[in-house]
Symmetry: C2
Subunit: 168 residues, 2 copies
């Protein structure tokens, strides 16, 4: 999409903020902008690895979640809560995964409102392969130093708890 810039655009933005008298919030602004950009870079890497499997990150996440469920099945609302995305996003992902034969919808045995998403054998196999690829090509070469990984987990964990993600 582009070649390296001569200078860090986020550091430039931070300087602009300071120059305009917003020095008190310049650093948080830079940190937040850096998070946005880092997410973009990581997502691109992940999608690149998943593409050969015919998966996107959203679909992979759902597949992986199901593969960790004992029964290989979850109610849609549960999946929505655990993945922390809007229910309509799950509907969308399930539609496509079902078209690809990786999951099937089945009615909940006791609650007529609820739909279960169930992994097919093919889906389970693909999830395993895709996870192996991600482990090798992304998580295993994240570009973060080991102690930085720990820092990130700690800092972002605090933030997420504070933001109301979980009570723990």
């Amino acid at each position: 999409m582009g070649n390296p810039l001569p200078r860090d655009p986020i550091a430039d933005a931070q300087r602009n903020w300071e120059r305009h008298g917003w020095g008190d919030v310049a650093a948080p602004m830079a940190a937040i902008t850096a998070i946005m950009r880092t997410q973009q870079i990581l997502l691109a890497r992940i999608e690149g690895v998943l593409k050969p499997f015919g998966l996107t990150f959203a679909r992979y996440e759902l597949l992986a979640l199901l593969s960790f469920a004992r029964s290989g099945a979850l109610p849609m609302n549960k999946a929505s809560a655990l993945l922390q995305v809007h229910p309509t996003s799950v509907t969308n992902a399930v539609d496509r995964l079902q078209d690809a034969g990786l999951v099937v919808r089945s009615p909940h045995p006791t609650d007529g409102r609820t739909t279960l998403i169930e992994l097919t054998a093919e889906g389970r196999t693909l999830a395993k392969s895709a996870t192996a690829a991600l482990n090798t090509e992304v998580f295993g070469q994240s570009g973060f130093a080991s102690q930085d990984v720990d820092q990130l987990i700690g800092i972002l964990g605090k933030f997420r708890r504070n933001a109301g993600d979980f009570a723990d």
Copy 2:
């Protein structure tokens, strides 16, 4: 979108990874997933603040970038490079900002291929107001401790340079 979960879903995922024998990449996986989720939370906050201004984050970023350019104008390819998004995303954003009367397209004086994006007076005013709101309601209450902000800027800066964002 959802209530707090009883437990941290990312910590659970990390435990799942370890349980399946992928302990060597479990931590980077958790860190990367945390970045994805944090970005989602921050984006939602930002968009919430910008909504009353009729702006999205993508449009705000372009507006802010223009407001820092001396002349208040930039070539589209320059904007694309600085914002680090695909050129078509800039086309999209400019279309909508132009419909809203916040920017105008004008031909480049010497290069017939290039289109300049220029801030209107109205655009400049709105950018100022929106920035003030973001500073107060998001960056000023980021939820990150001061030393964590510095950590993030450092760690993510290293990562972005390493990923080829900038040479600096």
